[in-house]
């Protein structure tokens, strides 16, 4: 187990460096004048350009720029926007609502998806099974923004059950619909994954053994079948939590949520490169850490992994 953890940690380092470098290059090393259009319609003032060049060492080569950026980052300094606001503070301000949204989405996925998957996986073919298969097929085929629009029009404008856009400091109740939209695609995957996983394991030899041992059906399913079948599902849910925090741009846009996704989107349009880099780097860190935790969780759930 110890060696496994260390190996995963070591693998993380090159991936972290690679991904963040990639982002850095993409954001800063684009051909052409990095300041074109950066200060709105007017060209930037020369003093500002000089200041920025100095601050970000833009005259150095890209590698040394990157490592200096990384150095600041390690000290917790995400840099400043052109207006002199601290990017770190901006992120701290916007992050909580995005985290709430992502967590709520995963909870919705887990509850609805797992229930649908378990019901169909245990019962096998039948009406319910077909219903779940067809509805997940639709959820998978609908781009998130179409789901979002459709539900916003239907529930928000037509039926007026919910506010079409959330308030500036939304409650969990307000976030429910956006979270459902955000998690809808994964919800379909969770349902299908649970279903296939159960169907496969239901016929497995060790489940047969458990029955032959004279255990009650509830124990066979609850202890022997579920534990094995839920491993891939839990892994998926965890990974999703990591990626949904960054994937909320569309949903936040539709429902007017002032989260990290909205902030990044605005920053990209306004060429706030420092903000963009900061957020993406942060998201990558979150993604990688969540994945590491998932790997470890996996090793806890499945003892075979620990000794590989």
């Amino acid at each position: 187990m110890g060696r496994y953890v260390i190996r995963r940690l070591l693998q993380l380092i090159p991936v972290f460096l690679g991904t963040t470098f990639l982002i850095y290059v993409l954001v800063w090393a684009v051909p052409g004048d990095p300041f074109a259009g950066m200060c709105g319609e007017r060209p930037c003032e020369p003093g500002f350009i000089a200041k920025m060049n100095e601050k970000f060492h833009l005259d150095d080569n890209i590698f040394s720029q990157y490592f200096q950026y990384l150095g600041n980052l390690v000290q917790g300094d995400f840099g400043e926007t052109y207006n002199g606001n601290s990017v770190g503070e901006l992120i701290a301000l916007r992050y909580p609502v995005s985290v709430q949204l992502a967590a709520l989405a995963v909870v919705i996925e887990a509850i609805i998806g797992v229930i649908a998957g378990v019901l169909t996986g245990l019962r096998g073919k039948g009406f319910l099974d077909n219903l779940v298969l067809v509805s997940t097929l639709f959820l998978i085929s609908l781009p998130v923004f179409v789901t979002g629009f459709a539900l916003q029009i239907l529930l928000g404008f037509e039926l007026e059950w919910v506010d079409p856009v959330v308030s500036s400091d939304p409650t969990l109740g307000e976030l429910l619909l956006p979270a459902f939209v955000l998690g809808s695609l994964s919800l379909a995957y969770v349902a299908r994954l649970t279903r296939t996983s159960l169907m496969e394991n239901k016929r497995s030899d060790y489940v047969r053994t458990a029955v032959a041992k004279g255990l009650k059906p509830s124990r066979v399913v609850g202890v022997h079948l579920m534990r094995n079948s839920m491993i891939p599902v839990i892994t998926f849910l965890g990974t999703d939590l990591g990626s949904l925090m960054g994937g909320a741009i569309v949903t936040e846009g539709i429902f007017g949520i002032q989260g990290i996704g909205k902030m990044t989107y605005d920053a990209i349009l306004q060429k706030e490169n420092i903000t963009v880099t900061g957020v993406v780097v942060l998201l990558v860190i979150v993604f990688l850490i969540v994945n590491l935790l998932i790997d470890l969780l996996y090793a806890v759930l499945d003892p075979r992994i620990r000794y590989e």
Partner: protein, 340 residues
């Protein structure tokens, strides 16, 4: 092979434990109806070893699964017959009562111990689980008993091993753990479905010795399903030979070896590698068993039988009683047995 010699004996006077009587079973799949068991009958007494022989697909495992009540249903459907345990038809029992008989009355060991043990629980947990749930033992007591059981099946360092996972065991040890698990509730009948096929020869012999030893000690009924005629000769008291879902021959082991009473049994014996004929090509049985989706009329063995006559493709041979507890389903059974 085996270091222990157990003489084949007659146990017909001991208590009759389990009786499969004219069992019919089919699988209704999208490809059609596969008639997998077509009137299977056999029984086992206390202290007795019944060996069930037959080609792959002849229905040996399905019969065992039917006894345990673990056939996949659907697609499986039992269309006739009884399975009596102490004279009581298991097929008519409630689910609860049936469950109580599993592992306490009749227990089973599967061929592939690795896939039959749950990969995410320790061996000790899996053995102790039944003790806790059905004997009301505490976690501690169950653990202690699991260690004793592992000791009994001769797993070295049982105390340490009990906390390990199945994948940390070797193949032979896994099968021993499987045996320990199936013996945890002291069953009267043990079904061993090819318990040694996945193991290498020396380990095979050790496991067989162990099984036999425990059986004699506890006076269990043992149903041993196997391909290995060598194993059968050493441990079986009586033998049932299956072909296409039927028992084609039943006899005391010594009798059957002395004089097979069915052409299929003869062919099986011919196809067995023998030490005194090393280097010769084996006489494998030519042809394939009939498709169970569509069993032709007459004797199912007819297309492959060297003794087949016209009648064989028309009339299904009934199982004939040849005396001394011996039966054979061949039109020419008497001639075969009285050859010499």
């Amino acid at each position: 092979m085996s270091t222990v010699d157990y003489s084949n004996g007659d146990h017909s006077n001991s208590e009759l434990l389990l009786e499969v009587d004219d069992l019919w079973l089919e699988f209704r799949t999208s490809d059609g109806v596969a008639k997998v068991l077509n009137g299977v009958s056999y029984n086992v007494h206390a202290g007795e070893t019944l060996a069930v022989l037959g080609e792959s697909g002849s229905g040996k495992s399905v019969t065992a699964q039917a006894i345990m009540g673990i056939v996949d249903m659907p697609p499986g459907v039992i269309t006739g017959g009884e399975i009596r345990y102490h004279g009581e038809d298991l097929l008519k029992l409630s689910d609860t009562r049936r469950r109580e008989i599993r592992a306490e009355g009749i227990s089973i060991i599967f061929q592939d111990a690795l896939s039959s043990l749950n990969p995410v629980y320790t061996v000790g947990f899996q053995i102790g689980e039944q003790l806790r749930l059905r004997r009301g033992m505490s976690r501690k007591e169950a653990q202690k008993r699991a260690i004793e059981l592992l000791d009994m099946v001769k797993i070295p360092n049982a105390k340490g091993r009990v906390k390990q996972y199945p994948h940390e065991f070797s193949g032979g040890m896994r099968q021993r753990a499987m045996i320990a698990m199936s013996l945890a509730l002291d069953p009267e009948v043990l079904i061993a479905d090819e318990p040694t096929t996945a193991l290498d020869v020396t380990v095979q012999a050790q496991i067989m010795d162990l099984l036999k030893e425990i059986q004699v000690e506890r006076q269990m009924g043992l149903i041993l399903i196997t391909h290995d005629l060598g194993v059968v000769a050493e441990v079986a008291d009586k033998i049932a030979v299956m072909y296409a879902g039927r028992i084609v021959e039943r006899a005391a082991a010594t009798e059957l070896y002395r004089m097979p009473g069915h052409p299929y049994t003869l062919a099986l014996m011919d196809s067995m590698p023998r030490l005194d004929q090393r280097g010769q090509t084996l006489n494998t049985i030519k042809g394939l068993p009939p498709s169970l989706l569509n069993i032709p009329p007459g004797c199912p063995f007819a297309p492959r039988c060297p003794r087949a006559q016209d009648i064989c493709t028309v009339e299904l041979p009934e199982s004939k009683d040849l005396g001394l507890g011996r039966t054979s389903a061949c039109h020419f059974a008497e001639e075969l047995v009285n050859r010499v």
